[in-house]
């Protein structure tokens, strides 16, 4: 399968730097799987990649309906890329509904591959098409390939002894095969995967492989698709890579942290989109000593995690926005008893149940302030799928070192998106120190603090002689006894704040992308990283005076944040919310941050950030001019 490009000499090969493909079909059509296979194959081929799955909200809405459309977009490239791409260069639409919901995102001149068989009246009606888009001028601006994928697939599988319905379920592999030919991908990664996945059913293995190959050969042979494209491997940093999704990386980071800390992990959770996959991942890791508890609700889950932490484990809970709201009362208990706790919050569209399958960054203020009383804790936010691994490690490190809850703010886009990830060398990772005090000749004082971290000791049940009581009432400094003393309460309130502030000593300085001073500084956090980086880099190449920083530590902030902010005339904060980080920065540094908000359940496009920066740059010039003319 490696000499395929020679097979049909009539067809020409073009070289491209990067391509954005979107697979779209019915929920039942296996589009997530197809996209995932293309991703893996491209990754192994050495391209840089970035992906964006787009699930329907329904489990399986009626076949052919608009809400039932499932899509998967990926960007693969011979150079470094950081987003799944603004607009697809290729759309594969398996039915009219998929065409309807996705075509508006596709740029003019792009390729649109259509499963012609699906454009029957019933499906057109389900997709609310009044006339057949293949026959009117809906697609006039695109390079359309109408291919009877269902029929071709059925024909290819005619000899296999499975039902027609089962055969039809292979058509996504037929489509994938076509795309493999178009973009010169080998079939072996997918073939291996099919063999493993359907190991229990030989006929299904055979059918899927056959469909894949048939698609490939059809594209190669038939006169429909005339060009195929080469995308060279990207020059990634040398090392060993794998493709990784954010939730997977998060789980991996946590298991790694537990191993490094030689302290078992207890993950207590209640399923919720888009956090559930972390529970699923961790529940497979029992041989790492990981215990996963599926609790009766979110409050029970954080409760169990706190209980486990009291017992000396790394206590973890994970959820999404509405679940974080429910956990807020118990989170405060962890704050006042000063136990380590990691709370994963995989953000989704809000408020309320909102848009469960869509991404958003709108829980930052909830994470900061969503509790009664003055109740500071640490907040971290990974910025790419792979960074979830690193920040999960950081979360555990900070929690156990400072005896504090840490909120880890990921989001739906990171959770389900993927990228090539350089596998870290486990041996070279720093160990995580966990100390449980033992009886000494001195009286044990549960709230006697470490001078540098202000952390209290983590004495655990079972330790002879260190019996002590903790609880949610205000505690007396040093002894931890219940205290209603006014001065003590003020002191403890300040100590709790100072302890969180002390974490600053462990937070690396921010690196500025670009010049250390200039007209515009773009400040991002979390999953907007890729779009911001790409936009800023592009504008820098055009000579614009713009730099960016990206916050992965949101409470406390890195030490050098203030001075960087002060080195630019204007600050722009793009966020997938109504301006939550901007509000905090404005309050803390009294800087007139400008907001660039997108609240659509969709990640930023590079072009949207670019436009935002350009607008601010031009108004900055005006300001400059006004200033000069005064």
């Amino acid at each position: 399968m490696t000499t395929h490009s020679e097979a049909n000499p009539q067809k020409k090969t073009e070289e491209l730097e990067s391509v954005v493909i979107r697979f779209a079909g019915d929920s039942g059509d296996g589009m997530q799987l197809t996209g995932g296979q293309f991703t893996n194959t491209s990754a192994v081929l050495g391209n840089d990649i970035s992906t964006l799955p787009d699930f329907p909200a329904e489990i399986r809405a009626p076949a052919g309906s608009l809400p039932g459309v499932s899509a998967f977009q990926l960007n693969f490239s011979s150079s470094e890329i950081r987003t799944p791409g603004d607009q697809p260069d290729v759309l594969i639409a398996m039915n009219p509904a998929a065409l309807k919901t996705n075509i508006k995102d596709v740029h003019h001149g792009a390729i649109v591959i259509i499963n012609e068989d699906a454009f029957i009246p019933r499906n057109l009606e389900r997709a609310n098409y009044e006339s057949n888009p293949l026959e009117d001028d809906t697609l006039k601006n695109y390079r359309v390939y109408r291919i009877p994928i269902s029929t071709l697939n059925q024909n290819a599988l005619v000899d296999i002894d499975i039902s027609g319905k089962a055969k039809d379920r292979c058509k996504n592999f037929f489509a994938l095969g076509m795309m493999y030919w178009m973009y010169e991908r080998p079939l072996d990664v997918t073939i291996e995967w099919i063999k493993k996945k359907f190991a229990k059913n030989e006929l299904v293995v055979e059918a899927n492989i056959k469909a894949l190959k048939a698609g490939f050969h059809y594209a190669e042979t038939a006169e429909v698709i005339s060009t195929h494209y080469k995308i060279q491997p990207a020059q990634l940093k040398p090392g060993k890579y794998r493709n990784i999704m954010g939730n997977e990386a998060t789980a991996l980071g946590l298991v790694t942290a537990s191993t490094l800390a030689k302290t078992p992990l207890v993950y207590a959770s209640y399923p919720i989109t888009p956090a559930s996959d972390i529970l699923h991942e961790l529940s497979k890791r029992k041989n790492f000593g990981v215990k996963t508890l599926q609790c009766e609700d979110e409050i029970a889950a954080i409760g169990a995690a706190i209980g486990a932490a009291f017992g000396g484990s790394i206590g973890l809970t994970g959820t999404s926005g509405p679940g974080l709201a429910l956990k807020s009362e118990a989170l405060n208990l962890a704050i006042i008893v000063e136990l380590p706790l990691i709370v994963l919050n995989i953000q989704r569209g809000g408020p309320s149940t909102g848009l469960p399958t869509k991404t958003e960054q709108s829980d930052l203020l909830q994470a900061m302030f969503g509790r009664n009383g003055d109740s500071p804790l640490a907040i971290l936010a990974p910025c790419t799928p792979g960074d979830c691994f690193h920040m999960a490690l950081e979360a555990v490190k900070i929690a156990v070192k400072y005896m504090t809850p840490v909120i880890f703010l990921s989001d739906g886009y990171l959770a389900n998106g993927s990228e090539p990830w350089m596998i870290p060398d486990y041996q070279s990772l720093d160990p995580i120190e966990v100390k449980h005090p033992q009886l000494t000749s001195e009286k044990f004082l549960p709230y006697l603090r470490n001078e540098s971290t202000l952390a209290r000791p983590w004495a655990i049940p079972g330790t002879p002689g260190l019996e002590h009581r903790i609880g949610g009432l205000e505690k007396e400094d040093v002894t931890g006894n219940v205290s209603y003393d006014p001065q003590n309460h003020e002191k403890m309130t300040h100590l709790r704040a100072a302890k969180i502030q002390a974490i600053t000593q462990d937070i690396p300085d921010l690196e500025v992308l670009g010049k250390p001073e200039g007209d515009v500084l773009v400040v991002g956090w979390g999953s907007t990283y890729g779009a911001i980086y790409s936009a800023v880099e592009k504008l820098q190449k055009q000579g614009a005076s713009v730099s960016s920083i990206h916050l992965r530590y949101l409470n406390p902030f890195p030490k050098n944040l203030e001075s960087i902010l002060g080195s630019f005339r204007r600050v722009l904060v793009p966020e997938m919310n109504m301006g939550q980080l901007a509000m905090i920065l404005r309050a803390k540094y009294l800087i007139d941050c400008q907001t660039l908000n997108k609240v659509q359940g969709q990640p930023f496009k590079i072009s949207e950030i670019t436009a935002g920066i350009e607008k601010l740059l031009s108004s900055t010039h005006e300001v400059k001019n006004v200033a000069r003319s005064r």
Partner: protein
Amino acid sequence: MSLEVVKNEKLTRKDFTSDQDVRWCPGCGDYAILATLQNVLPQLGIPREKYAFISGIGCSSRFPYYMETYGFHTIHGRAPAIATGLKAHRPDLSVWVITGDGDALSIGGNHLIHALRRNVDLKIILFNNRIYGLTKGQYSPTSEYGKKTKSTPYGSVDYPLNPTALALAAEATFVARTHDTDIKHMTEVLKAAGEHKGSAFVEIYQNCVIFNDNAFTQVSDKQTRDDLSIKLADGKPLIFGKELNKGIKLNQGSMEVVSFEADSPPDDLMVHHATKDDSVYAHLLARMEEIPGLPVPLGVFRAIQKSTYDEMVQAQVQDAIEKTGPGDMEKLLNSGDTWIVENKA
């Protein structure tokens, strides 16, 4: 990490008494329960440092502060959940949950039934005073219908919950009832709970002198208690009365009281068996408190054996390690499709 039962005969009540001043109202039934438990723990032969007391919020939930053990006064209603996490991680500990009728049955009802149905090895001691003590006297889910309190000046319209019936519906493996004025009985019941492996649910009738005084004269009044309550003894027929001349019979699935000459009970009386596998018999006992004319049962309603949640969670970890070997971090990090990018140079 399984529960090491180390005989440690030297421990006494004093070893379980913390240095904190006890702050319940003078005359509160909580004092007697505290003293009794401080007496019972040394008898269980578990080292002191292996005890953990987890409570919610309420007068009763201040309990852990007074125990010289590991203790955690958590938040309202959540103690069973927090204790579940602790026990799941640390099957070696003896974990006790101290809770009130409001804490356990109002805000915390769901965590209670889920801890019980999972058979987490917790000793859940519910101080039932049929009132919210700490918030100064509102009615609780166990208050009688029509109760006049600060929040129900016209009388409550909620029918009460029956704690033992609820525990049985959740298939608790140990269900018992005792009361704060009978130290000996309380001692027996708490000891049995402490020795039970699995979720042990104990309802203690506890007198709140301030907001619901004399709620339990049925079991505490020396004059009448023998006729109004019945003590359960395993393998023994259900006999009660000052003169031990009354018994309980099952008639078409309904219970009724029969009187007889003392010392010659009829032989169709119900016989107490706490170890019956199905919960129907224990359910009969649980309903007795509601049926006029029947005495209130005291003692162990049910005590059966079933694998516990915490040991099964632990066993899955051990199994996985045995079957696939202890986790190999390098291997896990490198799993899935991988590829190598070579140094160009």
